[in-house]
């Protein structure tokens, strides 16, 4: 089994430890991981702010880059949602037949991380060890666009030593919303405060999710407020073993 990793622009720059964890995890499960150096961005930031033409050019690059990949795994629900929900509209509007065909062929081969593990590899127990109290935050893209459902819970459930605490109001948005976090910074912060209340009351050491975007927002406030909790991408929990505990930065 061979898979190509699309690390995403922001993980590459801000959360390389998540990428390292994905590689370690997948190789441990016997998957050969390749990484195509031409990758940059899926175009989500531009598409969601109204820059369609720009998003299209990035989307085109991505589709061409992975045309012959066996599978593409992406540790970011929002980027997968971009590809699944918005690419075909962009290609309808701005692309041509050839591009649309290429995309149609690629689409079934694109996986969010938990989808890859559960649906493609058929594993729930990835042999992880993470002896900490953890709560899980469901990103809106993972919840409503990808319908990840039980997958993250099934994976966390099999992590040895992990003490899971559920999060109240799980389906309520944390307030990140991409450029919304700065275009409507105050409203975003108000939503963050409400979310943080629910997260902190779990008493967990770590808040995890399948998206570093939400975690950056939650973790940034936790750090500012000396909240005594950290954020960590689920890939890092799943990659963690007794021999090689998770990289926890910051």
């Amino acid at each position: 089994m061979r898979t190509s990793l699309f690390i995403t622009c922001y993980n590459d720059t801000l959360f390389p430890e998540t990428g390292r964890a994905v590689v370690r995890l997948l190789e441990r499960l016997g998957v050969e991981v390749e990484f195509r150096p031409g990758q940059t961005c899926c175009g989500q930031m531009h598409a969601n702010t109204g820059f369609r033409g720009e998003a299209f050019s990035q989307a085109k690059r991505l589709v061409r880059l992975y045309a012959d990949a066996e599978a593409v795994v992406i540790p970011s629900s929002s980027c997968v949602a971009m590809i699944r929900d918005q690419y075909s509209g962009l290609f309808e509007e701005l692309g041509n037949d050839a591009l649309r065909k290429e995309f149609a062929s690629l689409l079934p081969r694109v996986y969010e991380l938990s989808e890859f593990l559960i649906d493609k590899l058929g594993v729930e127990d990835v042999g992880a060890y993470f002896p900490h109290r953890v709560t899980y935050h469901a990103s809106c893209h993972g919840l409503r666009a990808l319908h990840l459902g039980e997958r993250p819970f099934r994976l966390l459930n099999k992590v040895r030593g992990l003490d899971f605490v559920p999060l109240a109001n799980l389906d309520r948005c944390c307030g990140f919303g991409g450029t919304f976090s700065v275009k409507n910074g105050e409203v975003s912060s108000a939503m963050l405060t409400v979310k943080l209340e629910d997260v902190l009351v779990t008493g967990a050491e770590f808040c995890t999710a399948l998206d570093n975007s939400c975690l950056m927002h939650l973790g940034g406030a936790m750090h500012r407020q000396y909240a005594g909790m950290k954020t960590i991408h689920m890939a890092q929990i799943l990659a963690s073993t007794e021999d090689q505990p998770a990289e926890v930065l910051g």
């Binding site: 990484f35 940059t40 961005c41 690059r61 948005c173 919303g177 409507n184 939503m191």
Partner: protein, 490 residues
């Protein structure tokens, strides 16, 4: 913002999209209003809990949604046919059908009708459409007093307030505020703030009006093309009073309210009350057809309003906006609305539906900040009974606003615009991306504290760092680590 101007914005919200401040600015003083926050959260939590219970017990909820969406889409596909059919049947049943191009046209038509009736007062059933066209102030300045009869609308009319929700417009007002308004404006001494007493005060205040004012104005929840009928959904009974007792009824309805057949109500009525108030059915729903001799108003006029709706119909992605049945389920579930309340949206239509409807009714000339007043969480789409994909429409409207901006000089002063244009170039080549990452790391070193975190950033970044830290850029990118690893493995 100074305390005085904050107070002003709270007490005198501007709900005219042409004049209202942009959403982020309008939201600011509201975010500081703890009472508002509490009132809004309480109200929407109550409705949401009731709605959730009823939706869970309704085994065909999803198929009802699908059918409602399909019926509405079908109507929009054939709107001309159904409007003409409605007009013919309503006229045959004794009603008079008028057509209004826009708000000004509608106001003029209604005033003329009132003048013909020699009416200097009217009683009104709550209709957001009349607020959309700013009817009451226009009538007032032309010598006609409009008396609102819906409890929430009375609270707002007597208190000089503005609606902040389309189903419970006064949800931002608490009982002691209502008590003060009623005591002062109704001239009641020793009025308690118990909701029961306040409601009784309203009942007494209105009884005489219902029995004496001969002209009423209503909106419409649904228009039935096959019969020319109008349906009104309500809880209090003030609607029944206004549509039964007066001599003349004037109904104002957006053209998108039409349904093909009477039986289509079997779908809509099952969805509306559950979505709007968390009830299996609201207390009173009334339907009338033209004029019935001996029963109800003997003169019936209906004003069919365009006011930008046909321009929405023309657009492939946006036309689904017109499916809306004004249930407010999207508003109740919206995490943004929860924090700001309705006045931040600068329109009589707040929340997710407001964010897509208002700019479009304004032909995208105003309210351009509204499509951005959303984190795109998608909760609204999940609850919409007619399956409007609100996030999809928001994205489409953002693209239109951006395309507009591309031609404005102001774009050179918009850091987000410039940043995204540059980012697009950066993302076009891997080497440019890598170079930008290196430059970014070097540049941000200046802002990175000893703990490895950034606590303060300039410009747009300040909006982030006002409440959040940002971890400093790691020394090595993922792709750098991978390249090293490849080299090591060889």
């Amino acid at each position: 913002m100074s305390a005085a101007s904050e107070h002003e914005v709270i007490d005198h919200p501007i709900l005219d999209p042409a004049l209202a401040p942009p959403f982020p600015v309008a939201a600011l003083p509201l975010l500081r209003n703890s009472q508002l926050r509490k009132n809004v959260a309480h109200a929407i939590d109550v409705i949401q809990a009731k709605r959730a219970r009823l939706v869970a017990e309704k085994r065909d909820w999803q198929t009802l949604r699908a059918a409602a969406a399909a019926i509405k889409e079908h109507v929009l596909e054939n709107l001309g046919v159904y409007l003409e059919q409605f007009e013919a049947r309503c006229t045959a049943a004794g009603g008079t059908v008028h057509w209004a191009r826009d708000a000004a046209d509608a106001r003029r038509i209604i005033l003329e009708l009132l003048r013909k009736e020699k009416a200097d007062e009217v009683i009104k059933i709550k209709t957001m459409t009349s607020a959309e066209i700013q009817l009451n102030p226009y009538l007032e300045s032309n010598g006609v007093r409009a008396y609102e009869t819906d409890l929430a609308e009375i609270i707002l009319q007597l208190g000089g307030g503005e609606p902040s929700h389309i189903v419970v417009p006064a949800l931002h007002v608490n009982r002691s505020q209502v008590r003060e308004i009623f005591a002062r404006r109704m001239g009641i001494e020793n009025l308690s703030d118990e909701p029961k007493a306040l409601t009784a005060a309203a009942r007494n205040y209105l009884r005489q009006k219902f029995l004496s004012v001969p002209t009423a104005i209503s909106g419409a929840n649904f228009l039935i093309a096959e019969t020319g009928s109008v349906a009104i959904v309500e809880s209090e009974g003030n609607g029944r009073m206004c549509l039964t007792l007066p001599r003349t009824m004037i109904t104002l309805a957006g053209i998108e309210k039409v349904l093909p057949r009477f039986a289509d109500l079997e779908v809509m009525l099952q969805l509306l009350a559950r979505s709007a108030t968390g009830e299996r059915m609201n207390p009173y729903t009334s339907l009338w057809t033209g004029v019935t001799p001996g029963d109800g108003p003997q003169r019936f006029h209906i004003v069919l309003l365009d006011n930008g709706r046909s321009s929405i119909l023309a657009r492939k992605t946006e036309r689904q906006t017109l499916r809306c049945i004004r249930c407010a389920a999207c508003i109740n579930t919206c995490p943004v609305y929860r924090q700001t309340g309705g006045h931040a949206y600068g329109s009589v239509y707040p929340g997710p539906i407001g964010a897509i409807l208002t700019p479009q009714l304004e032909q995208m000339r105003h309210a351009q900040s509204l499509p951005y007043a959303s984190s795109l969480c998608g909760a609204c789409y999940e609850v919409c009974p007619v399956k409007i994909n609100i996030p999809e429409v928001l994205l489409e409207l953002r693209a239109r606003v951006t395309d507009d901006e591309r031609h404005q000089v102001s774009r050179f002063f918009d850091p987000i615009y410039l940043g995204l244009r540059v980012a697009n170039v950066i993302f076009s080549r891997a080497w440019l991306f890598y170079a930008a990452q290196r430059m970014g790391r070097i540049g941000l070193r200046f802002f990175t504290q000893k703990d490895g975190w950034i606590h303060s950033l300039p410009s747009v970044g300040a909006k982030w760092t006002q409440t959040r830290d940002l971890r400093g850029l790691p020394r090595q990118t993922f792709h750098g680590w991978w390249a090293d690893r490849q080299r090591r493995m060889k």
